[in-house]
């Protein structure tokens, strides 16, 4: 069942492939890639703009190809794939920090940024939200990006992050407050520099 929202689709129930556990093939994994590859890359770019999202995406599906049984057993393959991506990003960051510490070349080739929407409103929103999100702790950032921006359900976020659902709601509650506060500061600053009076900001 899917809930159609304005401009996007939120999958409430992830329909698993009707493939026997032992028969998951690379073609099946490819199906998941075609279905979720772009959105996983979008999530990686939002969660780790300093890393190479294309490379991490490839690595995630290499893992899926090598462990198809885990993907098949996952209650939500989508959530499982998100979880893999998040873990890979964290590992890559640790590796880069170590290399930097030892004075090795830690320069990560950044993939090109998500192509900015041609709509000005979306472009501005994307930038503003990215700035607000980057100030969150990793745990809150992951919960916020997955739930609010990527459209995963609470259960899927819990599965992806391997935490109880209650923990997801707690993190989201705090993340939402911090993000909206950060956005309100940005809006206020922009209003000041553009000459708007304070009362014009009020709805």
């Amino acid at each position: 069942m899917k809930v159609e929202g304005p401009g996007r689709t939120r999958a409430v129930v992830d329909v698993a492939l009707s493939t026997p556990l032992t028969a998951m093939t690379s073609d099946d994994v490819e199906t998941w890639y075609l279905r979720y590859g772009a959105e996983l890359r979008q999530a990686l770019r939002r969660l780790a703009p300093d890393l190479d999202a294309d490379d991490l995406l490839q690595e995630a599906f290499v893992i899926a190809l090598k462990t198809p049984d885990k993907l098949a057993r996952a209650e939500s393959p989508r959530a499982w794939l998100y979880g893999i991506c998040i873990k890979l990003a964290a590992t890559r960051r640790r590796t880069l920090r170590l290399r930097s510490f030892f004075g090795l070349d830690a320069a990560e080739r950044q993939s090109s940024p998500e192509r900015l929407s041609t709509r000005l409103e979306q472009r501005d929103a994307q930038r503003a939200v990215a700035r607000a999100v980057e100030s969150l702790s990793p745990a809150k950032q992951q919960a916020f990006v997955l739930f609010e921006l990527q459209g995963l359900s609470g259960d899927e976020v819990a599965s992806a992050l391997d935490v109880p659902v209650k923990t997801v709601w707690t993190r989201l509650h705090h993340a939402r407050r911090e993000v909206t506060e950060a956005l309100e500061r940005q809006l206020l600053q922009e209003a000041r520099t553009s000459g708007l009076r304070r009362e014009e900001l009020e709805p």
Binding site: Q58, A125, V129, S135, V179
Partner: protein, 307 residues
């Protein structure tokens, strides 16, 4: 803790509406790594780590358009039966190209990659360079300010400006080179940092500087200047220049405006945005007459005018 409804479905305030708008942006499918590249990587025939936008993967025959909006062309030097030995040339969506003489590919703008090693030779011509390769994989990108080349496997010969150079795997090359920036413009400006925003991670410092920058004071000028420096150091030149532009909008006659203008010029040159750099250099000369660095800026402007 009760379950939450996503902000995309429940936004009330303007801040929440921003999140809803951002959430509605569909994922970008352009340049998504190909499945075959992933499969080969899993089998141990790893593609090199994605460079400048990731691994490209298309292969088309002449004059083929693909529904996903990516156009690729296969340069054929053999009859169709031998097409598996032809180089695989892939072009990004929006690339402007045309066939040249003797089977060359003329790339006017956009990105092109040769993603399969074959014995067949290939020649690529751009407004800036000529590339000849055989048995190699490489990426070429043409923008207004020049051509960028990156070699993944094998080697390529590039000819530009009367010079010839062989690039090996792992090497990259940009032509024309950016103009040399006079050393007088590269000296670090006096530390004008907001003293209270020097501790912590970049995100903490960023938030601190933004808070400092909301006032209407010298400290706010300093905070915006330092914010730009921080963003640049963090590899975010667009955000850096936005902070400096804001500084000029709000404090165009402020104490720090010459330093801000110079930072903009230098950053734009390094980003290879030569036209904008020239505009900012002229603005510096107009707004900072008699500045000791005037001569250096004029020298840089002369170099930029050649591009």
């Amino acid at each position: 803790m009760t379950p939450l409804v996503p902000l995309s479905e429940s936004a009330t305030s303007r801040a929440e509406q921003l999140v809803a708008v951002a959430a509605a942006i569909p994922p970008d499918t352009a340049g998504l790594p190909s499945w075959e590249a992933i499969r080969r990587r899993a089998e141990g025939h790893a593609e090199p780590e994605a460079q400048r936008g990731g691994t490209w993967r298309l292969a088309l025959a002449f004059a083929c358009s693909v529904a996903v909006g990516v156009v690729a062309v296969s340069v054929l030097r053999q009859p169709p039966a031998a097409s598996d030995t032809a180089p695989r040339v892939e072009l990004s969506s929006g690339a402007n190209w045309s066939p040249g003489t003797s089977g060359a590919v003329v790339l006017h703008t956009g990105r092109l990659s040769v993603s399969r090693v074959t014995p067949a030779p290939i020649r690529i011509e751009t407004p800036h360079v000529v590339v000849e390769a055989q048995g190699s994989r490489f990426l070429a990108e043409v923008v207004a300010s020049g051509t960028f080349l990156s070699v993944d496997e094998g080697s390529v010969v590039v000819r530009a400006g009367g010079l010839e150079r062989r690039l090996q795997a792992g090497e990259s090359f940009t032509w024309p080179p950016a103009p040399e920036i006079p050393t007088g413009l590269l000296e670090q400006p006096l530390a004008a940092a907001a003293q209270t925003c020097t501790e912590g991670a970049a995100s903490t410092r960023r938030a601190c500087l933004r808070a400092e920058a909301t006032e209407d004071s010298l400290e706010a000028q300093a905070a915006l200047f330092e914010l730009g420096s921080l963003e640049l150091h963090e590899g975010r030149p667009t955000e850096a220049m936005a902070a400096w532009q804001e500084s000029l909008r709000r404090f165009g006659d402020g104490v720090l405006h010459p330093e801000v203008r110079l930072q903009l010029v230098v950053t734009l040159v390094r980003q290879r945005e030569f036209s904008r750099a020239a505009t900012e250099a002229k603005a510096f000369l107009e707004h900072c007459p008699g500045d000791p660095r005037e001569g250096d800026v004029k020298a840089l402007l002369e170099r930029l005018d050649r591009y």
